[in-house]
Structure formats: structure tokens, C-alpha cells
């Protein structure tokens, strides 16, 4: 059962990392436009600018 000494803090630590990640994403405005974000994922990239021939 000594393994719990490692496992329990590890589990809590990972959970805490997840929570901090969530708070960060909230603070950086990633939940401000949920509808737009859904569409941005499938929007085409801008065509690469044409390089003029030298």
C-alpha cells in the first residue's frame, strides 16, 4: 500500500493541472464565442500568398 504515497498526490496534482488549465482558458477568452469557435475549426485556411516570379 506504500504506492498510495505516490499515486494519491499524483492524481491530485494532475487534477490541479487540469483545473489551472481550465481557469487559464477561461481567462484568455476561449469561452466568449462558442458558436464561432465551432465553425472556425472547419474553416479553410487562407490561400498562401503567391510568390512573384523572380
Amino acid at each position: 500500500m506504500e504506492v498510495m504515497v505516490i499515486l494519491v498526490p499524483l492524481a491530485l496534482g494532475l487534477g490541479l493541472v487540469g483545473l489551472l488549465g481550465f481557469l487559464w482558458s477561461l481567462k484568455s477568452g476561449q469561452y466568449d464565442d462558442l458558436e464561432g469557435a465551432a465553425w472556425r475549426a472547419i474553416a479553410d485556411d487562407e490561400p498562401a500568398p503567391e510568390i512573384p516570379p523572380e
Binding site: 500500500m1 490541479l16 487540469g18 483545473l19 487562407e46
Partner: protein, 733 residues
């Protein structure tokens, strides 16, 4: 005179040498629009940020300070096919957004704690029937307490605060039993942990908070969304005025930047954005938004004009008597306060449920404690059982029952073209059994239309349309629309109060008053046929034609009226317009009850009468004269073209030309109310099953957790049904 547009009022300093502006954009609805706008704007040099928010339908722009004029963005968006308006975030909206973020943070903390406490609880539950030693169990309980207590202290704030506010004013709301339940569960768990007991309820308490925060967040995000829509509506209205900045120099400025004493220019076809007095010029003005009267009023030196009146024929100079802040906005605030008071008189379904719920639950817990003591149980056991009753009855599903349905239903209504201005309007709308329509702008379309264009030869119509583009008059705009004209006739001159004239292939052409075109006889004939219409005459050389121009009924108005009647809803017209006009509309729509020439006070009196007879009245109107009656009615609705004041007062706003959203809104809200009631009964039914188990004292934390999440899921899934209304009800569309 050189006109410039001045948007500096809306530009904010974003720091690091950048300027920032928010624009509300009309017609952004899909991913295509989003990338089109972002690319179109980013292509302008010196623009550092162009980002569309599809949820709020706004664009945020940043550029190098001083490098660009914000008017350029609006022009660019117009080129791309979108109408945009500068936008100022109202403080109420900012507060809603902040509250929404706070709830999201609470939800994140609570969800984190729930998952971790649950991770510790599951081994304890299974360990209780296998070989976990008491020391390990205690260790897990202490760890759970370490996570759950700070998390609950943070994430429980919304509930604790609201419960405290309610208790201080001597009321009880749903948050009181929630707070008591959570605090007792945590307190008892700590006590049990200290005494090395077998059961603790950390997981139940924190899970309860998580589920309830989901409900709270949904409720909040719905409110925030309606706020954003309302904010955009305010920006989309004619919020600019043409102000004289010099003797002959004019500038287009936002109304917010106008102060009393300023002089503004009102050109033909423009809607006045301020209250004031005419100091120069002669014209006719259309005050139908203010009074409902469709006949024009003559305006000259000394005539008072109000925000919302439409200038028809001549150019006017108006001295501002009160800027919009002082009159219109103050009036909106006053009426909104009234509406809010009316709203507070209406007891929401959730509050009605909690008023009944809280005393029953607390009495049951108390009786349980007393009962066990009488049966000879120890103090400790009796109290533990009593607290278990409170935990298991904690209104988790009740807290979710209504917000989930409201969120789903408001989303469905949004798709059907109806925007909610107030959260509880769904409940009130579902009860409606009497609908009162205003005529002008509500049953009819807001703009004028040519009704006899088929009687005029195509070539003449086309030419008239080109000529019409040179005029600002709304009737001319109707002719231009009917002809589908795109390019104006070159060299056309507008004669104020008369019409426009020009030359086409050497022949003089004129469009305007019948007397201006020498077509009085033709005009009289047409006027006899259709006394409601205004007449625009057109003369090309010696040929003369007349156009009958009027406000048409919305295309599906008749279908909507009969659909309402099918639902056993009485329909009535109350209009400030003349009897003739109202009678014609009532006949065409098959409405038997109508009243013409009514004043705003009469409208309120009629609504109060109906209320006394026990009817639940819905008022649908758009004019300023409707605003008080919109506030007085049980529930109210406005088209998007309505005046500021009415839109702010109405509970719901509908978009587009059809009237169909009125019926759709009623159908969706009826279904939603049905589901809310069903959800409440589901939650109560769950309690009826669980409470006897709790009273008998055999509840374990495992049972509490399973019952709580089970009932919450059931309620949420049931709420999803609010997306659709029965096929039979929707078919008539």
C-alpha cells in the same frame, strides 16, 4: 456642405499604440460570413486585429493609433454586404459577462473537486465491503475534506450569497435549502471524520454544487445572450444624427455625443434621433411610430419633433431640446423599472415551487430527528439521519428543472426568429389566451410599397425607379424598390416638397406630387379606388402615370391570425390609426374585434379591462405609443423595426418580414412550460421515493450520490425535448 462621420466617441485606447472599436454587424450568421469579414478587414493596412464573435454578432477591430478612420471599416463592411454600427458595451451587459465568468470559474472548481473527491470515495465505498482498514478510510476521508471544504467555500458563493440576501429580507428562495443542505452535509462529514465514522458526505455536497452550478450557468448564459442581442438592437437603430459643427459644415455623430442646444440637420427620408424644435425649413413628418397615425403632419418653424419621427419632404434644421439621454433613455429606464416591478409581481414557477418546497423539507428533517429520538435512538444517530434527509432532498433536480428547459427553448426560439428580452417571458407567454395587435408596422410591414406597379408599362416603371433614386422621400424609395432600379438618373434635381425632375433622352421626366406632374385627374381616380394609398405621380414627356403607395399587410398575417384562432386565442386590433384603415385591415385578416383612433391611455385601459376579466393578454406592437401598453400587458412582443422604447419594453422581439414567429413563440413556450412542470414533478417524484429511505436511516453516501446524479440527468434529458414542437402545430407554416 461637406458631411463627415465622427465615430471617435466609440474608439477606445487598447494600449501599446493601438485603437480598438467594437462594431455590431447585421446579418452575420455563418462561418462563411465570419471568414469573409475577417479577411476583408485584415486586408486593410495597419489593421492588427479583426475578429468576429458569432455568438454576439460583433466584430472587434484594432489598428495602429491614428493610422485609420473607423468610418473606413464601416464602408468596407458595406462593400462586403454587411451593415455595421459602432457599438458601446452597456454597463449592465459587462456586469452580466463578468457574472457569467464567475459562475464558470465556480463550476470549474466544483467539477475538479467532485471528480477528485469521487476518486477517493469510490475506494471507500468498495473498501467498506472488502478489506480496507479503518486507518486508510480515515486517511481518504481527511483528503476528501481537504479538497471539498475549500472548493465548496469558493464554488458555493453564488448560493450562499443569494440565500443570505433572501433571509435578510425575510424571504425564502431555492438557495436557502440548498445552502443549508450543503453546509450541514459538510459539517456533519467533518464531525464524522474526526470520530472515525464509516460514512461521510463530502462527495454528495460537492456534486450537488456542481450540478446546480450547471443550471445556474445555463440560466446566466441565456440572460447574457439576450442582453447582447438587446445591446446590438440598440446599436442598429438610427443612433447617429447630422450635427452642424460650423455655419455650413455638418458631421455625422453618434446621438450620445449630442447635447441640448445643438442644431441638427434632418434630410428627407431620415428618422429624427432627438427631441427638438424646428428652427428652419418646411416639411411633412410621419409620426406613426409615436402616435400610430399614418397621416403626415406639417412641420415648420416652431413645430416640436420627437425622436422616431420620419421626415418626408423637405429639409429641416432642428434645435435639440433634450438629447436622447435626457428624454428617450430616461423614459426607457423609467418604463423598464415599471416592467421590472410588474415582473416581480409575477411569481416565477421556480420561486412558487421553492416556497412550497423549503418548509416541507425542513419540517420532514425535523420530524425525522424527533421521531428517532422518541424511538430511543441516540442524539448522534438521530441528527445524522435528519441530515441525511436534508441531503437527499436537496433540490438538485429542482434547481436544474427550469433553467435547462429555458435554455433549450430559447435556443429553439432564436432559430425561429424570436429573441427573448426577459428570462421568465417563456412562462408568461405560454399562458396567453388573448392577443392584441397594433396595426401600423406590426400587422403591416414597416416600409411603404407600390401596390399597382403591374398597371404601369415596364419601361416607364424602370425610368421612374431611376429617377426615384435621386430622392430621399420614402415613397420614392418604394418606387425605386418596385422598379428594382440600381443606378440613379444623372443630373436629377430634387425640388423640396414637390418631387424630382431630370431629363432622359432629351425629354423632361418628373416624379412627385400629382400637381408637380400635372396628373391630378389620374390621381383622383386612383385615390377613389384605394383611399388608403398615397399617390406618387410620374410624367415622361406627355405620358402620365400614377403609383399607389401604401403599407402592405405582412404576407402571412392572415395565416397567423387563423393559426392563433385555432389555438383558441382571441385576436384583436388596437390602433391609433383612422377607422377606415383599421377596418380594412381587420376585414382582410378576419378579425372581428378592432378599435381605431385609440390613444396610449385607451390601450392601457383596454388591457386592464381584459386583465380584470381574467384574460392573459399579449400585446404585439412597435410604436412609441405602444410602449406603455407593452409594459402593461401580461407579456409583450415587438418587431425588430420597432421604436427603441417599445423594443426595450417588449419581452420578446421578432425578426424579419413574416409574422409567423408570433405563433412559433407561443408554441415553443407552451411546450416549454409543459416540460418545466413535468420536470418539477419528476424531481418531486424522485424525492417521494428517496425520502422514505432517508427517514428509515439506511441511506449510504453511495445511494445519495447515485440518486442525485440519476435525477439530474433525467431532468436534463427531458429538457432537450423543448427543441421541437409537435408536427401538427408547426405544419401550417
Amino acid at each position: 456642405m461637406q458631411a463627415t462621420r465622427d465615430f471617435s466617441h466609440y474608439v477606445k485606447d487598447a494600449g501599446a499604440g493601438l485603437s480598438h472599436i467594437d462594431l455590431a454587424v447585421e446579418g452575420v450568421s455563418c462561418a462563411g460570413c465570419m471568414s469573409k469579414i475577417e479577411r476583408g478587414l485584415s486586408a486593410i493596412p495597419d489593421v492588427t486585429l479583426a475578429r468576429v464573435n458569432l455568438t454576439d454578432r460583433r466584430v472587434a477591430l484594432e489598428w495602429k493609433q491614428g493610422a485609420l478612420d473607423p468610418a473606413r471599416f464601416i464602408d468596407r463592411l458595406a462593400e462586403l454586404g454587411y451593415k455595421a454600427y459602432p457599438f458601446e458595451t452597456a454597463s449592465a451587459e459587462a456586469a452580466e459577462a463578468e457574472q457569467s465568468r464567475f459562475l464558470m470559474r465556480c463550476l470549474g472548481v466544483a467539477a475538479f473537486a467532485t471528480m477528485n473527491v469521487m476518486m477517493l470515495s469510490v475506494p471507500v465505498w468498495s473498501g467498506n465491503v472488502s478489506d480496507m482498514i479503518p486507518e486508510q478510510r480515515d486517511f481518504f476521508h481527511w483528503l476528501s475534506a481537504l479538497i471539498a471544504l475549500p472548493a465548496a467555500a469558493y464554488a458555493g458563493q453564488p448560493f450562499f450569497r443569494s440565500a443570505f440576501r433572501a433571509l435578510r429580507t425575510g424571504n425564502v428562495n431555492m438557495d436557502v435549502p440548498i445552502s443549508i443542505g450543503v453546509l450541514l452535509a459538510l459539517g456533519m462529514s467533518v464531525f464524522e471524520t474526526v470520530h472515525h465514522a464509516e460514512h461521510t458526505y463530502f462527495d454528495a455536497a460537492i456534486m450537488l454544487l456542481t450540478f446546480l452550478l450547471v443550471g445556474r450557468y445555463l440560466d446566466q448564459s441565456m440572460r447574457q445572450r439576450t442582453r447582447a442581442v438587446a445591446g446590438n438592437l440598440a446599436a442598429l437603430k438610427a443612433e447617429t444624427a447630422t450635427k452642424f459643427v460650423g455655419a455650413d459644415e455638418i458631421s455625422e455623430v453618434p446621438v450620445a455625443a449630442i447635447v441640448p442646444g445643438d442644431i441638427v440637420l434632418l434630410r428627407p427620408g431620415e428618422r429624427c434621433a432627438v427631441d427638438g424644435t424646428v428652427i428652419e425649413g418646411r416639411s411633412e413628418i410621419d409620426q406613426s411610430l409615436i402616435t400610430g397615425e399614418t397621416l403626415y403632419v406639417a412641420a415648420q418653424h416652431g413645430t416640436a419633433v420627437y425622436a422616431g419621427s420620419l421626415n418626408m419632404t423637405g429639409t429641416l434644421r432642428v434645435r435639440v431640446s433634450a438629447a436622447s439621454e435626457a428624454t428617450l433613455l430616461a423614459e426607457i429606464t423609467r418604463l423598464l423599472d415599471n416592467a421590472l416591478q410588474a415582473r416581480s409581481r409575477y411569481v416565477r414557477l421556480a420561486d412558487r415551487a421553492s416556497r412550497f418546497y423549503a418548509p416541507v423539507v425542513h419540517a420532514t428533517a425535523l420530524l425525522t430527528i424527533l421521531g428517532w429520538m422518541l424511538m430511543g435512538a441516540s442524539w448522534h444517530d438521530a441528527i445524522v439521519t435528519g441530515v441525511a434527509v436534508l441531503i437527499i432532498t436537496c433540490p438538485c433536480a429542482l434547481g436544474l428543472a427550469i433553467p435547462t428547459v429555458q435554455t433549450v427553448a430559447s435556443g429553439a426560439m432564436f432559430k425561429a426568429g424570436v429573441l427573448l428580452n426577459s428570462g421568465d417571458s417563456i412562462e408568461r407567454l405560454a399562458e396567453v389566451d388573448h392577443v392584441i395587435f397594433d396595426k401600423t408596422g406590426t400587422l403591416t410591414l414597416p416600409e411603404l410599397e407600390v401596390v399597382n406597379s403591374s398597371k404601369v408599362p415596364e419601361a416607364a416603371l424602370g425610368l421612374a425607379g431611376q429617377l426615384a433614386l435621386a430622392s430621399h422621400h420614402p415613397a420614392a424609395a418604394a418606387v425605386a424598390r418596385a422598379a428594382g432600379a440600381r443606378s440613379p438618373l444623372r443630373g436629377a434635381i430634387e425640388e423640396p416638397g414637390q418631387g424630382v425632375r431630370g431629363t432622359f433622352e432629351g425629354v423632361e421626366v418628373r416624379l412627385g406630387r400629382p400637381s408637380f406632374c400635372g396628373a391630378e385627374r389620374l390621381a383622383d381616380e386612383t385615390h377613389d379606388l384605394d383611399p388608403e394609398a398615397s399617390i406618387v405621380a410620374f410624367r415622361c414627356g406627355e405620358e402620365r402615370y400614377v403609383f399607389a403607395v401604401r403599407q402592405q399587410l405582412r404576407a402571412d398575417a392572415r395565416a397567423v391570425v387563423s393559426a392563433l384562432q385555432q389555438r383558441h386565442i382571441a385576436v384583436e386590433i388596437l390602433s391609433g390609426d383612422r377607422e377606415q384603415a383599421v377596418l380594412a385591415a381587420a376585414r382582410a385578416l378576419g378579425i372581428r374585434e378592432w378599435r381605431a383612433g385609440v390613444t396610449p391611455a385607451d390601450k392601457i385601459a383596454r388591457i386592464e379591462d381584459l386583465k380584470r376579466e381574467g384574460y392573459k393578454v399579449m400585446m404585439v406592437g412597435d410604436g412609441l405609443n405602444d410602449a406603455p401598453s407593452l409594459a402593461a400587458a401580461h407579456v409583450s412582443m415587438s418587431p425588430i423595426s420597432a421604436a427603441h422604447l417599445s423594443q426595450a419594453t417588449a419581452d420578446l422581439v421578432f425578426l424579419g418580414r413574416p409574422l409567423a414567429p408570433v405563433v412559433a413563440a407561443i408554441d415553443f413556450s407552451r411546450k416549454a412550460l409543459h416540460l418545466m412542470r413535468q420536470n418539477l414533478w419528476l424531481a418531486v417524484g424522485y424525492n417521494l421515493l428517496a425520502v422514505p429511505i432517508a427517514i428509515s436511516g439506511v441511506v449510504t453516501p453511495l445511494i445519495a450520490a447515485a440518486a442525485m446524479s440519476g435525477s439530474s440527468l433525467l431532468v436534463m434529458l427531458n429538457a432537450l425535448r423543448a427543441r421541437r414542437v409537435a408536427q401538427g402545430e408547426a405544419r401550417w407554416k
